[in-house]
């Protein structure tokens, strides 16, 4: 595909012969011309004759066909009515398409059911899986995203007939798809919440934006968690689905991807003690053993609207902590005493004060008792064996 200089030259000459008035910058000015089946066949035959030399130029040769698509679809006011009588624009901006990740493909590479031009009836919806699941000889190889999406809540909703649920194009767009590394791409990390998920999940978007994880708190920092960091990208499941990454027994794993990583937490002046102490606590142990009605990170800290402790609206603000602990399923009747003392207590950490010292004292008491007992038992055993031998003799 890279070596297209020579064929493109030939191709341009050929194009000029075909339509002398056309200039490449104004495709919309092409006069509408009827192209019969015979001409198409002739064109393809010519291409065959050129053979191996033109093989590398297949994507380019297809451009010629695109010209013909753009005869109609290149017009800004090209519209059609759907079954419900609603008007849709059928305009395709060539500049945007050429700049997209698929810019080197031709229309029929995706719109596979185009049998003749102009196509009379409405074309089928493009199936991205034709390339992105099965793979192609160029560009994208076979990928798992298609399978992940197939089992996701979005795909299942669509199967049920809820057409509000997104398919590929709902999030990724159609002719304007950019690589996720492109800062203008919808899939660029910082654009995902607003340009993808938040278009439907508006409340979650607003909560996330106001939270400590939001862009205001991070100011362009790429380390902030966006929707997909916790919910994954294509295989998003319902919270109640045990296969979901945010299911009660899995969600801690999502939080500790960052909060359990000291090198990340260090940058924000934090450490990973909360994670360690959580796993020391009964809540942590029970969650680890698969209990789902036990407090995990989000039970106390919230999901999208996670706020700092000193924020009065935060669920872990000392003023509001009793209400958080006192949720009907947890500790109903919790009083203000629930907020008196460190919440994340690690008996192995010196900062826990008296708890650390009592634990340390007990540890050494146990060790001392064990040593004294073993010495005593060893001596006693020797003596009694001796005694037994004497009696036997």
């Amino acid at each position: 595909m890279t070596d297209t200089k020579a064929p493109s030259f030939i191709y341009l000459r050929w194009l000029r012969r075909q339509s002398p008035r056309r200039t490449s910058s104004t495709p919309a000015s092409l006069p509408p011309r009827g192209l019969g089946l015979l001409r198409t066949v002739t064109w393809y035959l010519t291409a065959l004759v050129v053979g191996a030399f033109l093989l590398s130029a297949i994507p380019f040769a297809a451009h010629a066909q695109e010209r013909r698509c753009l005869l109609c679809h290149g017009k800004k006011d090209f519209r059609a009515k759907d079954a419900a009588g609603k008007e849709h624009s059928l305009y395709v901006d060539e500049t945007i398409f050429r700049g997209s990740a698929h810019g080197k493909l031709s229309c029929v590479d995706c719109h596979l059911d185009t049998m003749e031009l102009p196509h009379g009836k409405k074309l089928k919806q493009v199936n991205c899986g034709d390339c992105h699941y099965r793979g192609r000889t160029f560009g994208q190889g076979p990928a798992i995203e298609y399978l992940l999406y197939r089992d996701s809540v979005h795909a299942k909703e669509r199967q049920k007939g809820n057409m509000k649920a997104p398919d590929c194009a709902s999030c990724h767009g159609t002719h304007d798809i950019l690589s996720r590394t492109d800062i203008h791409s919808r899939g660029y990390k910082l654009n995902i919440p607003e340009q993808m998920c938040g278009r439907c999940h508006t409340k979650e978007l607003a909560d996330w934006k106001a939270s400590v994880h939001g862009p205001t708190a991070h100011k362009g920092d790429l380390n902030l968690p966006v929707c997909t960091n916790c919910h994954t990208e294509h295989g998003i499941r319902r919270v109640a689905d045990p296969g979901s990454t945010v299911y009660a027994t899995n969600i801690v794993e999502m939080c500790i991807k960052c909060h359990g990583d000291f090198s990340i937490m260090q940058r924000y002046g934090k450490n990973t003690e909360e994670v360690e102490s959580y796993y020391e606590s009964f809540h942590g142990v029970a969650t680890k053993f698969g209990e789902k009605n036990i407090a995990h990170c989000a039970s106390c800290h919230g999901y999208h609207l996670i706020l700092a402790r000193d924020n009065p609206a935060s669920s872990i603000n000392p003023e509001r902590l009793p209400a958080t602990c006192g949720q009907p399923k947890c500790h109903p009747g919790a009083t203000a005493n629930f907020a008196k003392g460190k919440v994340h207590v690690n008996p192995k950490s010196r900062e826990s004060g008296i708890i650390y010292w009592v634990a340390l004292g007990f540890k050494w008491l146990t060790i001392t008792v064990l040593i004294v007992l073993f010495i005593h038992i060893f001596l006693d055993f020797l003596r009694k064996v001796q005694e037994r031998r004497k009696r036997g003799a």
Binding site: A286, I294, A334, F362, L370, F381
Partner: protein, 226 residues
């Protein structure tokens, strides 16, 4: 010389049942408790699975605790109301010579002393173990009840006392477990005098010969010096 086949009653049926209830509830409590404390080990994880999950494990633990507390209450009541149990308890109280007794046992085992001190009904080791278990049961029941009704407890006390209580419960239990398993099981199982097991806990009887060897003062009191 005392007859080898002559037996005397050392523990009554009620005392033996108390002992069975005590050790069976303690075994269940130890298994369900220690697996939670050492939840990181693969063995503990397997046992918790056998116990029906980490929450059901807690239910078993509480049931066993109720049995233990009931046993304890029964023992206290019998001390108060039964003449025999009252005497049993009085014989368990530490006397003057009991402190030096521990040193004497060490010296005897090291070979610095020819004879063991003459024991009465209960040796100083038996007394120590009795009191260790008694105090541990009181401490663990109290701290366990606090953990059981933590919301109720925290109506009065701040959260950090619960955390402290948690530490005391788990570590005190570990010390108690170590003392019982290592020391008591040695005395009644691995001890060459009784190996593989002393049957007193089942029959309640000891031979006169054993009584004379292990508790000479009591023997003398009951049968005179023959």
């Amino acid at each position: 010389m005392a007859n080898k086949d002559e037996y005397i009653q050392r523990f009554t049926v009620s005392e033996r049942i108390t002992h069975i209830l005590l050790f069976s509830s303690l075994i269940i409590l130890s298994i369900t408790g220690l697996t939670l404390k050492y939840h990181e080990s693969a063995l503990a994880q397997w046992i918790i699975k056998m116990e029906g999950g980490v929450l059901f494990r807690g239910k078993i633990h509480r049931l066993a605790a109720l049995i233990l507390m009931g046993t304890f209450a029964y023992h206290i009541l019998s001390i108060i109301f039964s003449r025999r149990a009252h005497g049993f308890f009085q014989d368990m109280i530490f006397r003057k010579g009991d402190l030096s007794c521990f040193a004497a046992i060490f010296k005897y085992n090291l070979g610095f002393q020819k004879e063991l001190p003459a024991f009465d009904r209960f040796t100083c080791i038996e007394k120590f173990q009795y009191w260790a278990v008694g105090i541990a049961v009181v401490l663990l029941s109290a701290s366990g009840l606090v953990l059981w009704g933590e919301t109720l407890f925290m109506m009065v006390f701040p959260k950090w006392t619960i955390d402290l209580n948690h530490i005391i419960h788990s570590f005190e239990a570990t010390v108690g477990f170590v003392v019982l398993v290592v020391w008591h099981l040695y005395n009644v199982h691995l001890n060459p005098r009784v190996f593989p097991m002393s049957k007193v806990w089942l029959t309640g009887k000891v031979s006169k010969e054993e009584l004379k060897r292990d508790h000479p003062l009591e023997y003398e009191r009951r049968f005179g010096n023959d």
